[in-house]
Amino acid sequence: MSAPILQRITIDPITRLEGHGKIEIFLDAAGEVANVYFQIPELRGFEVFCLGRPAEEMPRITNRICGVCPEAHHMAAAKALDMLFHADPPPAGKKLRELFYSAFYVTDHTTHFYALGGPDFVVGPDAPKAERNILGVVAKVGLEAGMKVINTRKYNHEVIKIIGGRAIHPVAALPGGMSKAINEEERQFIEKVARDNVEFALWSLEVFDQIVLKNSAYVDLILSDGYTQRVYYMGLVDANNHVNFYDGMVRVVGPDGAEFVKYAPHEYTEHIAEHVEPYSYLKYPYLRRIGWKGFVDGPDSGMYCATPLSRLNAADGMATPRAQEAYEKFYATLGGKPVHHTLATHWARLIELLYAAERMLELATDPEITSPNVRTIPTETPTWGVGTVEAPRGTLTHHYETDERGILTKVNLIVGTTNNFAPITLSIKKAAQAVIHNGVVNDGILNMVEMAFRSYDPCFSCATHSLPGQMPLEVIVRDADGNIVDRRTQNIAR
């Protein structure tokens, strides 16, 4: 018999805003955390209103799922179409897509580290809130460094526009390849951006080393129990089991680090299932063979993560030399594989940034990259297809089926952050349990929850992409009758 509920704590990123997620924490009569609910109040229904549309339009339709990572949806859709139309792109077409995608990863990971997640570490978790933002980062690392960040974003967006046609909501991917090749002049520009990216990524790892790793208090925080959970990890890997963002097999390792399964993307329904709860529009993916066991970790729970940390855990290494060095240092420092500390995701993200930059440079200097042969014209009857890429926030899968004219009859999508819905809920619960005792709620809950949440870089809403690097939170404590007995805010009132 559990104790009666004494208090209810509501955390709204911003009160009453739609699509931004809501956290409800219930305390029992002893003032300990009884339960935590994380709700997503958003539904848009792409799987249903895309039915009847010509399949080849999907790269241009599904990028509207997310204006922050439209490139990921554009690529997943294009890959699903390659399979559906039985049209394998020529080598230069694939390379061009991966080049585009690498530039996207550089800008996305850069934004997260410097503007969103990084300020917690670079400026410091105990720094005044007003300094824990991108401006605080610039103040700490210098204005010149701040310009490096701004320019990295700017130039990689230019690369995305050159290859994809537009910087936001690109259009150039088609079944069988890309609509336009690049010329030598464009290639030279992209190569220069890629070289700068490699330097930038190495410098970023150095910043992390100097500011975070050389500070034992930060390292202790990363290793602390409140930020540790033992789950399964998912990521795309190439033939050598190295991390790949654009293509490969989906590999899942267990909490012990051993391979649990490796499957081709089109087999996903055999391995992934989605659980429904009545209090959230978003579903909870889990490993079908293990089953949904609720919000618990461990080898008997089907809960899995798909994040930068997950991708490193699920792979045997990185495909580029400097990223591989960083990968080895990561595991040597944190006590071997797998790493279960969610805050280490920030470090993993920088290792991926370096890989993306190195891979971009490899592709930009590939003799084939300016080949005009970037498209295969489909000749067979369209059927069905599944396309999977690693979105920065998790394994992204598009599944389409059509009639013989290529008109969509079924669409199913498992979107990056969705993979992490259950583990994020668990992280919030662990954070709450770590700081709430005897009914005492202090500002620590705000910092803990926020940091636990942010390591995933969740894209439930772009509230978590707020530029100041702070997610505005409001905690309302109510008594059993719903009366507000306490209200604490962080970064909300002006």
Binding site: L51, V171, S179, Y279
Partner: protein, 344 residues
């Protein structure tokens, strides 16, 4: 203007993808000019405020509000009413707020079909108990709530009066800058205006038109088009002939047809109807049969003609129901349940 002498600016997102927020930031270093010139009083994506702060402001105290996203649940509508009441000038920023955009294609279906597939029939869903999300859920510890999801996607001006429109999915940075400059200089066009150009994408497109007519359409994957000739004349669907310019004809420059994200030109009531009539001028047909034969090569015409503009178009849905042995039309009843205290 504002007390400190700076105009007060608010930015808000309703049902949207976040791309409009990125688009605002795409004005790059000029965003610092915006921060210097305006007193930004509400911008949930970028700065930290709560709705209660807005509710506490005197009516009309926000000089300009850029509002992106469509309206499809109670909270979106609540915020539209609130910001309308608090703002002197309300701008529908981007395609979702202006005409519903791609998510507005949901008006071809309904809530019931979405629930059925997403929570029951999807191949990855395992839901033996048949659970669906509820606006109120009793859990052991209390009651959890979700906002009600509407059957119909609405544009901003179907909910509250709008003063200006900034088209595009997303709007190009130069038009955001133009709007900001117009506000700062007080050189605003007449209320109801679209901020942008009133020619078509064809006028910005570097491809050459030869006034050639076509015998059929090709799907985009079927042919590799000539890089210099009009895509439509090569049989590739391109909405540029009836779409407002302003984007710089970006899509046609990478060999992809326009899909109409900037919406129709001035004075056009229904963008899809305008597009159909414009396309008629390029079909090489003399009889209704010949026209039908050509249009048969364009699958999903509704999805092409109304890709971005369905929610604000003249097309309205009805539901067919059986009554006394024959079908009758039953209209969708959707009365937005608004906070009565916020009604205009």
């Amino acid at each position: 203007m504002a007390d400190q002498g700076k105009p007060k600016l608010a930015l808000y997102w309703a049902s949207s993808c976040g791309g409009c927020e990125i688009a605002v930031l795409a004005i790059h270093e000029k965003i610092l000019d915006v921060a210097a010139a305006f007193d930004v009083v509400f911008w949930p994506c970028v700065m930290d405020f709560k709705v209660a702060d807005v509710e506490a402001m005197p009516d009309g105290s926000i000089d300009v509000c850029l509002f992106n996203g469509a309206i499809r649940n109670d909270e979106n509508a609540h915020m539209a009413h609130l910001l309308r009441r608090k703002s002197k000038v309300l701008v529908a920023y981007g395609s979702c707020a202006m005409e519903g955009c791609i998510p507005g294609l949901a008006n071809f279906t309904d809530r019931e079909h979405m629930m059925q597939f997403i929570y029951h029939d999807s191949p990855s869903t395992y839901n033996p108990e048949g659970i669906e999300p509820q606006t109120h859920t009793e859990v052991p510890e209390g009651v959890l709530t979700l906002p009600a999801f509407w059957n119909t996607v609405r544009t901003l001006d179907q909910i509250v009066p709008v003063d200006y429109y900034l088209p595009g999915c997303p709007p190009e940075a130069k038009w955001t800058e133009a709007a900001v400059n117009a506000i700062l200089s007080g050189q605003l066009p007449p209320p109801g205006s679209v901020i942008g150009m009133d020619v078509t994408v064809c006028d910005e497109c570097p491809r050459t038109r030869h006034e050639k007519k076509i015998k059929r359409f090709y799907r985009p994957y079927e042919i590799v088009p000539d890089p210099d000739t009009c895509l439509l004349e090569q049989g590739l669907f391109c909405a540029g002939i009836a779409t407002r310019a302003g984007c710089g004809a970006l899509c046609p420059q990478v060999n992809m047809g326009c899909r109409g994200c900037y919406g129709p030109n001035e004075g056009v009531v229904d963008g899809g109807a305008k597009l159909i009539s414009a396309l008629g001028s390029v079909l090489d047909a003399n009889t209704p049969e010949e026209i039908d034969a050509i249009l048969d090569t364009l699958p999903d015409p509704a999805g092409y003609f109304y890709r971005f503009g369905l929610a604000r178009s003249l097309l309205q849905r009805t539901r067919l129901a059986q009554e006394d042995g024959h079908k009758v039309a039953v209209p969708f009843e959707e009365v937005p349940r608004l906070d009565p205290s916020l009604k205009d």
